[in-house]
Symmetry: C3
Subunit: 329 residues, 3 copies
Amino acid sequence: MSDTTWTRHHILSLADFTTPEYDIVLQTAASFQEVLSRRTKKVPTLQGQVVANLFFESSTRTRSSFELAAKRLSADTLNFASATSSMTKGETILDTAKTYLAMGTDIMVIRHREAGVPHAIAQEMDRLGVRVSVLNAGDGQHEHPSQALLDLFTICTLLDPDFPRVELLKDKKIAIVGDILHSRVARSNIWSFTASGAHVHLAAPPTLLPKLFADYSKDKPGKLFLHWELEPALQDADFVMTLRLQKERMTSHLLPSLREYHQMFGLTHSMLQLCKPYVKVLHPGPVNRGVEISSELMDDSEFSLIQAQVTSGVAVRMALLYLIGSGKA
Amino acid sequence: MSDTTWTRHHILSLADFTTPEYDIVLQTAASFQEVLSRRTKKVPTLQGQVVANLFFESSTRTRSSFELAAKRLSADTLNFASATSSMTKGETILDTAKTYLAMGTDIMVIRHREAGVPHAIAQEMDRLGVRVSVLNAGDGQHEHPSQALLDLFTICTLLDPDFPRVELLKDKKIAIVGDILHSRVARSNIWSFTASGAHVHLAAPPTLLPKLFADYSKDKPGKLFLHWELEPALQDADFVMTLRLQKERMTSHLLPSLREYHQMFGLTHSMLQLCKPYVKVLHPGPVNRGVEISSELMDDSEFSLIQAQVTSGVAVRMALLYLIGSGKA
Amino acid sequence: MSDTTWTRHHILSLADFTTPEYDIVLQTAASFQEVLSRRTKKVPTLQGQVVANLFFESSTRTRSSFELAAKRLSADTLNFASATSSMTKGETILDTAKTYLAMGTDIMVIRHREAGVPHAIAQEMDRLGVRVSVLNAGDGQHEHPSQALLDLFTICTLLDPDFPRVELLKDKKIAIVGDILHSRVARSNIWSFTASGAHVHLAAPPTLLPKLFADYSKDKPGKLFLHWELEPALQDADFVMTLRLQKERMTSHLLPSLREYHQMFGLTHSMLQLCKPYVKVLHPGPVNRGVEISSELMDDSEFSLIQAQVTSGVAVRMALLYLIGSGKA
């Protein structure tokens, strides 16, 4: 695998990811995708290493994906969920992380409802001079890099299964639709898609897409576009990513009703007619059927990449754990 | 192992199990029981395969039994419990199953409080044309096939440790006592015991044994009998299975009191005098001591097979995972 | 490893631990500490054995430490937490233990909020004549032997990294400060430290250190001392162990306020000036920063052994599982 140039120790954000780094992740994930198609799906790469999933916010899907990725690399896994932890006893988050460090953890996969927690832990680990790596599995409304990387891998693999690479996205039009304001997935996707040379079109009601998002596009002229209606974003799009709408948004008066939201921003077969003929739809899951996407479209394997995203997730997470974990032991 | 004729892909219900199928399960479980007595209790059979325990209803005992069975076959396991899952975020159960499918799950072990959920998931998997197997670990008040198979194995192994087979049960009298109405275990047991040629006698208060249960016996003349008193069921019985009484049944006015229930249907040493001299007692667990069975009888190893059932559970579940899982990778 | 004389089957209490037993634990742990520094941190010692963590009281830190220790010995692990268990269905604790026994558990690691539960389970296992071992992972306010053994290992390893042994503690002065009344850790530490020939000085407000603790010192003349002020305990101390203060103690009127407690019994750099120059500070964790110890002191690696304790925990628990588990299979 072409990881000779990989130097990154933590994976916290895609804001400063370089094109070679994206390509290494894509090609390493492609290798693991191939491993997963073999009879024996395990490799001994991380044998004896410990991957601790520290999930201060619950998530079955992401935690299972990381756990499976770690097990297929033959690592030992520890699961921590805050509900059953001593967080209730008043220990700080940094203390919890240091406890797992002291136990011998090699990689910490961290999810927290507040932005910046994985960074703070990584910073503390570096200050201590230890070799543990931190992987951000979602922090508040900030970033969710492994999700954006699996989205990137899903798309690039579709465009060239044998040699996925970011240049394949050059000048593709990608629409991101929905609750962008609250989405860490969208923020990470904006970094990776614009870095790949794609044209990224955001579409949402004004309450879910404030003007400040235009700031993202300042140093990306001609790459990031904001729309308060769905149609211009879908027009000739190659890919459409729709985001989960948290039902809590209704009670906080950011939206009138789920039904109205679906009428204006819900993805359906008929809306897709605005897009390129071979358009594909992505969603980070879990899906609110009939809200951000129609049930029929979600299940239509001609258009939907949603299952492929989940499958990509295991390969991409194996790649990330491999890249930051190998050479450690 | 004599699995040359095994063709069943999912294990959802015992309603259509054939005698050869029962015998294959019994003999495969006997082989694994032998493995479990060795110094090294693990076999590499399912190495690299993923067994996902999707428990939408909590159960430590059954989940641990399946988890241990999977680990002793060298499979990787993923545990999903609905309390900590995105079910709270509104994803459908089929979507959850498809997510675990997309991650690379080979066998899904599913428990749900509603009857039919494992069937629905299996049907969807077949519709999708994928090779994943579904194992029903208890669905509502419908079936609990692995429990009934371990009961069958426990009894047949007692009758012939070297060669357990269903014909050993021919013309044995088996009493099933207790809350039959709400018991998925009883329903699965009725299928396996009557298919084995045993005479099955059900005993419970009328509220817990409605007449409709006679329907089960229509195509089993002379094999299934209903009693609203305990004594005729116990008379000359070879085996007595007593069922857990959910305490909630009291509040829903199906029963007068626990004490009265114990007096009428509780199993005790003195009641056992009605049975054959070598009668054995089974219970699917967990036991309400002093309600459906006296504490003394439960702990009397001369009569009680309750611990043997738990031990059989691991061997039988290894057999089931092996039979539906091998040949997959 | 020098385990030729090890005969203890369960580890429930340190009250009757002998000097040779302490030394065997220390030296076995030292061997595993060495294993943990290797490239491959796993040994096949307990392959095929099952370690069940039965935690009737939640504890992420201790459970993770035992789980990792078991995995590094290549054992299979089962985790049981009462919140998701059938305890809510009325099964007794002994019945739960017997279920895990029947499944094939080799070692049960048990935590319970009531004193004596691990002993009761061990007694029942012995009565049944089975070979399963029980390890007390904390029972009520009674004992927490693995914690005290890791404290002992941490201190002895500091004094002689190559050959940790109890005689190194002879005539050392060790202060134990804080909520001694409610601390199972303190009780276990008193046994191990006094058995090692150290002078143990307890310091706490009278409500948290009743006179009855003097009973511990009756057969240990000149080894155990009680103080209702911090200063005499710290004077010339070689090691200071401070205990977690449960905030519930305030509401039950055992203490005036956290702030006042910190002023009187909180450990700080300036208080440490009373001690020997090379004094070290221990804490069983999790720490209430600014209550029983100042945040600055906790993070000062010149004085604090807190991280070393966590690391020692994995090696010591590997040693304990190895000593009671080997020779079993």
